[in-house]
Amino acid sequence: MVKEIERAGIPVVHIATVVPIALTVGANRIVPAIGIPYPLGDPSLGDEGEKNIRRDLVERALKALGTPIKGQTVFDDAYEF
């Protein structure tokens, strides 16, 4: 789906836990998620802590969408914007 959205002309960021799959299906902007059953959450953190990391992830996704790239890029913790 990511590729067809991008092909249609809409920039898209893929928030996905299994990054190798995101790379294989051809997502260009990838933000690693937290876990397969809770990509944007972490039940161990409590409501507030969990919402904070969700916000961090979404903000990272927006930053990824705002970053010019040449090819597939994984915006993980090591990525410097």
């Binding site: 249609a8 898209v12 809770y38």
Partner: protein, 349 residues
């Protein structure tokens, strides 16, 4: 052993008749080897002899597919060969298609093994790789000698009913065939050896290559989110409770578009997950873990993003074919564009 009889198919150019101006010539035959057939004959050595060469113009073949193929097969049949070669076509598109069509017709209609050769970008490769042994070649005829050596070796094996090795050994384009064999080492051992090589950065050969899904050029970035409309798409199988569109829990054949206008957070009672590929406990507790509506609404309220689309789009990613997923997105991207969506966040479980 009796010498194998070989017929070779080539185009106007390789027959030395002429280039584009001669591409319209109809099929004709010559005695013995012609053009690249000389090198091929040398590679075949004493075991086989090229008794005839069939020549046809590439444009003629392309414009008269059915009749050209029929005429060429008739000429080949007359010689009752043991083995047929077509090309190599390198990266010549029309020639590649002709080589593929002739080789396929020879195998299917005459029951005679045929071998051809093409560069990976030749459209003939994708058209015929499942049907034929197509030896990998370079872009141009500069690699002729190496190519005909591989073609000859593979052709002789096939004509003599010898076992054909895997693509990387014989040099042909992967056909997508699986052949059972007894491995010396058990699977766990092979897997550990492979991963050790991978960790060390050494070359290794996977036993299960992933399909190549192709690539799309990345879109330029969104410059001003405060004016942007953002939509959420998910493959996490989030649907309204009751699953009104009856989206499958695996191998989905449809997607849904679900209204979230007026909602500040995903209500756990009104939405559910029907995804059959992960433990849904956590998603059912708090659906924002898959569709981050609460955070997106905050960002909208704070003016960090201009607007969140009034709906999210959802399907089940597990087991869903690439073709279906592609079709869903081709379809709903039109709606996203019509609705002025500037960016998409796609979440996957």
């Amino acid at each position: 052993m009796k010498k194998l009889k070989v017929v070779h198919y080539i185009n106007n150019f390789f027959a030395g008749i002429g280039g584009e101006e001669k591409a319209g010539i109809s099929p004709e035959e010559r005695d013995g080897a012609v053009g690249p057939g000389m090198a091929l004959a040398q590679a075949l050595g004493e075991e086989a002899e090229i008794i005839a060469t069939v020549v046809c113009g590439d444009s003629y073949f392309g414009e008269n597919l059915a009749s050209a193929e029929k005429d060429i097969v008739a000429i080949i049949r007359k010689h009752q060969p043991d083995l047929v070669f077509t090309g190599p076509a390198f990266n010549a598109g029309r020639y590649g298609v002709a080589c593929g069509a002739v080789a396929k017709a020879v195998e299917e209609q005459l029951g005679i093994p045929a071998v051809t050769g093409m560069h990976e970008e030749n459209p003939g490769v994708d058209m015929y790789r499942k049907d034929l042994y197509i030896i990998k070649t370079g872009h141009s005829a500069a690699g002729m000698k190496k190519t005909v050596t591989s073609m000859a070796s593979l052709g002789l094996k096939r004509a003599q009913n010898q076992l054909v090795g895997p693509p990387e050994e014989e040099g042909y384009h992967v056909r997508g065939m699986r052949i059972n064999y007894w491995a010396e080492k058990r699977a766990s051992l092979r897997a550990v050896e492979m991963i050790l090589k991978k960790v060390k950065g050494e070359a290794y050969q996977t036993e299960y290559p992933m399909p190549d899904f192709g690539r799309v050029e990345p879109m330029p970035p969104v410059l001003d989110f405060s004016k942007a409309k953002v939509a959420i798409v998910t493959s996490g199988g989030i649907v309204p409770t009751g699953n009104p569109d009856r989206i499958e829990s695996s191998s989905a054949t449809k997607y849904g578009i679900y209204d979230i206008s007026g909602l500040d957070s995903m209500p756990a009672d009104d939405y559910t997950s029907i995804h059959g590929g992960y433990d849904r406990t956590y998603a059912l507790e708090d659906i924002n873990r898959v569709v981050p509506l609460d955070v997106m609404r905050d960002l909208e309220r704070e003016g960090i993003i201009g607007k969140l689309a009034d709906y999210f789009i959802s399907t089940t990613g597990t087991g869903t074919s690439v073709g279906s997923a592609r079709a869903f997105a081709v379809d709903f991207s039109n709606k996203l564009l019509e609705d002025g969506v500037n960016a998409v966040i796609l979440t996957s479980t």
